[in-house]
Amino acid sequence: MIPIEESAYDMLKQYVESLRKFFANEEGRDEIINDIEGRIAELFGESLKKGSTCITEDDVNKIIESMGRPEDFEGEEGKVHSQLGGEGTSDKGTSYDYANTAAPRGRLYRDSTDKILGGVCGGLANYLRVDPTIVRLVFALISFGAGTGILLYILLWVILPSKSLEHTSSAKRLYRNPEERVVAGVASGIASYFDIAIWIPRLIFALPLVLGIIGNIFRHAFWYDGDPFPGIVFGSFGGTLFVVYAVLWAVIPEAKSASEKLEMRGEKVDLNTIKNTIQEDLEGFKTRAEKWGGEFKDRAQEFGQDFGKTMGQKGQQFGSEAGSAVRRGGSRFLRAIGIMFKAFFLFIAGIMAFALLVTLLAFMVAGVGVFPLKNFFLEGFWQNFLAWTTLLLFLGIPVIAFITWLIRRIMGVKSGNRYLGFTFGGLWFIGLVCAGILAASIAQNFDARARDKQDYTIAQPKTGKLIVKVPDSKVKVYGRWFQMDGILSMTDDSLVMNNVRLHVVKSADSIYHITAYKYSNGADESSAVRNVNEIHYGIDQQDSLIYLDRGFSLQRGTKFRNQAVTVTIQVPVGKKIVITSSVNRQLTYSFHFGGRNNDWDFDEDWNNRYESWSSDVEYVMTPGGLERTNKIKNEDGNDDGDNSEKSAIEKYKKSKEDLQKEYDKKQKEAEDLKKELDKPVDSTKYHYKKAVSYNPSQDTKGKSTNKAGAEEESNISSEASRMLFMQMVL
């Protein structure tokens, strides 16, 4: 009988169990176990002989250290292979099932072999006869959701004893499939587990994401405020799914070994199926074995480090176990985090590519939408043709290519056709060339620019003031119409362009003038001139109201050639003009006041000189330019247009009043203080001091009683004298 501590005994039992499990299928299993137990007993004997009264945990640990843990045994990796290829141990055709051990199944343990952190989920899963990955997922969800999951986990970690448990390997386990993977094989593993087609879980993961993105982009592209798809739902749902995917990626183990792969598919793990599986992927074999070897080495190192520490109580054991698990889990976590980063970057790259292509799609759609305008823009057969080919090839091809790629990826089809890529690329390039030619051709149509001047006869307003208005659209549009806000609108037979600008300048003489300058581009001089003559712009007058047309119309046959109209109103000095808010609303650009009478290239002018102006404010033309009639009023300028002279006088009056008030106030103050001074003086209250700084003018003017020279008094008297002085002046 060997006296041994209970905790040490537990440890020993546990170790032997792990050995048993490890050699479960070894032909000489019992023998090996016996040998090892014998050796251990021998070592115990030596220890006792040395003088210790009983075997402690420390002893057991040392022994286990020297014997080694099962995972450290060399030449033992992949018990499967050795089983198949074992020399002399001809396969007896035994079915490859993990043998029953004496471990009672009714108790809840922590699984010492199947553990990521502390084996809590593994033990729990074994107790419940469930796939440990599921348990882990549940735990992860709880932890994410409430945070109490983590506490619960730690609690269980401390409480539950650790034990190596065996698995019933006929149960189907959820793994990640490393062979068939787009990102991490999560979808593929799930598909195997549930026996559904691969593209189903992929679609489930991808769809809300894709829809959400499309929804967002459409929303931004077309200024909807309502979503075509309930974007909010999908947006956040897609995001949640992404997080779920990442968690699954970290938690679900990869099906590396043949038995794991079989477990993933749920096939019976016996010799024949294993043989088949191995024959299926003989290539990955070697690499996997090497990986294992490396992993075992890692774990051996960690193990060695762990047992270097002193252990005593269960708390200490827990501490060291936690340490090793953290290190182990740490590297795993880091790997998981690295994977998550990789996933994140892949995700972002995917999003960018996708967004790019959806933008192209939007362009294409916009191109189609602008279609009715086509005839106003394009001239001749070639331009039309080029436009079509550009649309189809340059814009359409990338969209088609992307959709094809997407479908293929989701379906899991490997594209073996190289030529497809070349074809797409070639067609797109042709489209690019067409786009270039089209642009050049169109630009050529804008080569020349012509201008024409049109004078309007107006009657001078009796009030000496012009009010400029833009009436609501004279051109009633019925039927099919297309409108780009503020720039042009179109009916079936004519196009109305709003490219009208207003210019107010000083008149050279003493009467009002209104002229309109019409501009147009063209392929050459004559066609430009022709285009200019096609512009019709009208002005109406009703006494002092000037109605400017909102836009000018072009006949249907006329092409868009950047036609523009500038209306110049010349205001004589001393006369007034009011620009109503309708102008601001209806005409495309604001206008500026200036001294120049004609501007040839009015485009650059706007950028150079821009003054802010206010609607419905009366302005009067002065020699220096337009000025507001009433300068003092606020920005919203809801005044009825006071005369500037009047206001000046008023200002002057006001200041005079203010001064008067001030004077009165000061006078009163002076009187009050004087009264105080006349009171009988308390010698302790005032300190009479010779006044040092003395204003000589005071003496001559004021009735100052500053003989004593109290400072207050001198101050008062100087004030009083100043007041008197002013009074005299005024």
Binding site: A41, E74, E76, D298
Partner: protein
């Protein structure tokens, strides 16, 4: 590239051969075997050794006998069988070939190749 992996592979390759050579020299029991290997600076875990010995024994290369001990349970003493001897001979040949090859490959060449092409004065 994990160097520890490669190193461990190298070790694994020669383990069996080393064990067999020790046993060939005379009968030995496992923990003594571990000690002998340690002294030659080739460390092996007992947990690795026992299964290996058992396998060799099951393959008929080794055999053992029990020896009673005062200080504890009886021990297994392993000796080599004839078959084992034959097996060992093969391994020895292989090892020699391997050692020669590696030695040849890891030696720097005695002269540089450029010298070779130059005509001797």
């Amino acid at each position: 590239m994990d160097i520890q992996n490669t190193q461990s592979q190298m070790r694994k390759g020669v383990l069996e051969f080393c064990i067999l050579s020790i046993i060939r020299q005379g009968e030995v029991y496992p923990s003594d075997l571990v000690e002998r290997m340690k002294s030659a600076n080739l460390h092996i875990l007992e947990g690795t050794l026992y299964p290996l010995l058992t396998r060799l024994k099951n393959a008929g290369l080794l055999t053992y006998r029990w020896v009673e001990s005062n200080s504890g349970p009886p021990r297994k003493y392993f000796v080599m069988t004839d078959k084992g001897l034959e097996f060992y001979g093969e391994l020895e040949r292989t090892w020699q070939e391997l050692a020669d090859a590696v030695h040849a490959l890891t030696q720097p060449p005695p002269y540089s190749s450029s010298e070779e092409t130059q005509p001797q004065p």
